[in-house]
Structure formats: structure tokens, C-alpha cells
Amino acid sequence: MGKAQIKVEGGKLVKVQLKSEGDKITEVKVTGDFFLHPEELIDELEKALEGSKLNESALADRVKAFIKKHKAVLLGAAPEDFAKCIVMAGAKSD
């Protein structure tokens, strides 16, 4: 399991716990003091990222598309921050 965290400049803390196989995410948990509205979407977002490749720009696009599709609002962090933190956790994953 890989873990990483980043403090977003002028924003909040994003923490990621990740399990991966090769360069693919098998399980991901994103925690922190950011805001996502509606809140319940976090579980769905984590599910939607399973199977994704550990590629920062592709992950950011995936998070962006998810937010757009669900008309969600992310405050205190950007999709790029989620993506960056996920890739960092992936680099630490065995």
C-alpha cells in the first residue's frame, strides 16, 4: 500500500492511500480536509478511479470529467491535486 499527502497552496490537505498492480489502481482512498459537494460522491469517485493508470494528466482528466458529470463542486483542492497525490502514493506502493 502506498501513502502520500500534499498541502494545496492556499487550500487544503489531500491524503491518498493506494493499492496498485503494475501501473493500474486497484484501490484508492482520498481523505483530507477539503470540501466535495455532494459529499457522498467521494465513494463513487474512488470506485471510478479503480482500474485507471497511474498517469497524472489522465487521472486529473478523469476526476474533472467525474465532477462535471455529477455537477459536483470541489473546494480547497483541484482535480490536479488529487491526481498528483495519487501518483505520488503510487510511486511509494510496492
Binding site: 491524503k15 482512498k29 466535495l36 459537494h37 455532494p38 459529499e39 480547497g76
Partner: protein, 238 residues
């Protein structure tokens, strides 16, 4: 937390008007944000030893130590169609916090809103706030620090490394302040509450009328306490 959600449900069913609630935590407790991990943020064994509660909020944001004698908590519930509510979350934080800012200024505290969700005095945080929306209701709650005790705060919050505990305490002392520290005198909860009520009334152009918890809210709160907020499934779900 259970009563907060119960009031939101009652408001969504139009059983109660827009509502402002003040309360203190008894016993003292730590609340964590919706997206935080309880195990990551809170030393629950230390809480248990000290008789301090811990609970996950329905709102995002960070972990807060709510000292029974050191802070006042408020919650407000507005219909999403209320003129004070904007579709933009950041804008709504600023508007809804303006009531607190104006109340604090009535006490002689030069409070200012600081995005995303804080109120600061001289750059130091005195209040944190969090918002959620659902069922056409906007629910914002937050805390106003009356007295602050960073040592106790870090006795119940997890620190990444024991070696930096003192550094973190020092950092909180530098970044956070309280009404007593700013004013250099004791500030009573009644005095603060009265000032905040006047602040909300002036800032929002409304008149607040005293009310009590309705039977529906009371029952719903008990149900939510038993089925959600006292359960491990909720509090440790992340």
C-alpha cells in the same frame, strides 16, 4: 451533530423556519470532517481516557477540538432559495460568515473573513466554518474560539511524528487566537451569543426569534444519534 442533521431534515420538510442554533459540546469532543480518516486524525485512546468524545461531521473540512469551556458552536439552516444563498459555495461562505464577522466586531474584535472558510483576527484564525447542501437546505456550522488550549488540542489529535508535537503546538499558538486573548479579558458565552445574534440580524437584515427544538427534531435527532452518529460504521468509515 445528530440534532444538526435533524434540524436540516425538519427544514427540508418545511416543518421549521430557517434556523440559527448555538451550542457547546458536553462533554468536550473532537469532530472530524466528512472526508477525513478518524484513525489518521484522532487519538481515540487518549479521548477515551479523558472522557472526550469523537464524531464524524456531515460537512467537509478539518478536525476540530471542541472544548466545553473554550468555544461556542453555531449552526444555521437556510432554504436553498433564500436570498443569502448563492450557487457559488465560496460566495455563500463569505455571506453567511458576515453575520459572525459583524457580531465579533460588536464585541470590539477586528474580525475578517478569510477564504476559504475561516474568520481571522490580525491574520490569526478565531473561527472555522463548514457547509453542506442537500434536500434544498443549506447547512453551515462553525466554531468560535473563546479560549484556546493547543496543548490539550494535541493531546487528542494525532501528530505525524511525536518529535514534532511541540513544534505543532507552537505553530497553532502562532496561527490561532481566541476572543479572550484578543480582548485581554474574560468573554462570557451569553455575551458572545448576544453579540452574534445582533451581528446576524444587522448583517442579514433579519430579526431572529427565540425558539425551541420541536418534537420532530428531537425524535429525529435521537434516531440519528442511535443509528448514525454514535456508530462505528459512520465515525470510522474513512
Amino acid at each position: 451533530m445528530a440534532l444538526d442533521e435533524a434540524i436540516a431534515v425538519a427544514r427540508s420538510k418545511n416543518l421549521v423556519p430557517d434556523t440559527l442554533r448555538f451550542f457547546r459540546w458536553e462533554p468536550s469532543a473532537v469532530s472530524i470532517g466528512y472526508f477525513q480518516s478518524m484513525d489518521d486524525e484522532v487519538d481515540t485512546a487518549a479521548c477515551d481516557r479523558r472522557g472526550i468524545g469523537y464524531v464524524r461531521r456531515r460537512t467537509g473540512g478539518g478536525a476540530v477540538y471542541h472544548d466545553r469551556d473554550g468555544e461556542l458552536t453555531y449552526s444555521m439552516f437556510l432554504s436553498q432559495s433564500h436570498r443569502l444563498v448563492s450557487a457559488d459555495f465560496q460566495e455563500s461562505y463569505e455571506t453567511l460568515c458576515s453575520g459572525l464577522v459583524s457580531g465579533l466586531r460588536l464585541l470590539g474584535v477586528q474580525a475578517e473573513f478569510k477564504p476559504i472558510n475561516d474568520i481571522v483576527v490580525g491574520g490569526r484564525k478565531v473561527s472555522g466554518n463548514a457547509q453542506t447542501r442537500g434536500l434544498n437546505v443549506v447547512h453551515q456550522h462553525g466554531t468560535i474560539l473563546v479560549k484556546v488550549n493547543p496543548k490539550l488540542m494535541f493531546a487528542v489529535l494525532k501528530v505525524p511524528d511525536e518529535k514534532i508535537r511541540d513544534k505543532m503546538i507552537k505553530s497553532v499558538e502562532e496561527r490561532v487566537t481566541s476572543l479572550c486573548a484578543v480582548l485581554g479579558r474574560e468573554v462570557g458565552f451569553d455575551e458572545l451569543e448576544r453579540a452574534l445574534i445582533r451581528g446576524f440580524e444587522a448583517s442579514f437584515g433579519i430579526r431572529l426569534v427565540p425558539g425551541t427544538v420541536t418534537e420532530f427534531e428531537d425524535k429525529k435527532a435521537e434516531e440519528l444519534r442511535v443509528e448514525k452518529y454514535s456508530r462505528r460504521e459512520w465515525n470510522f468509515r474513512r
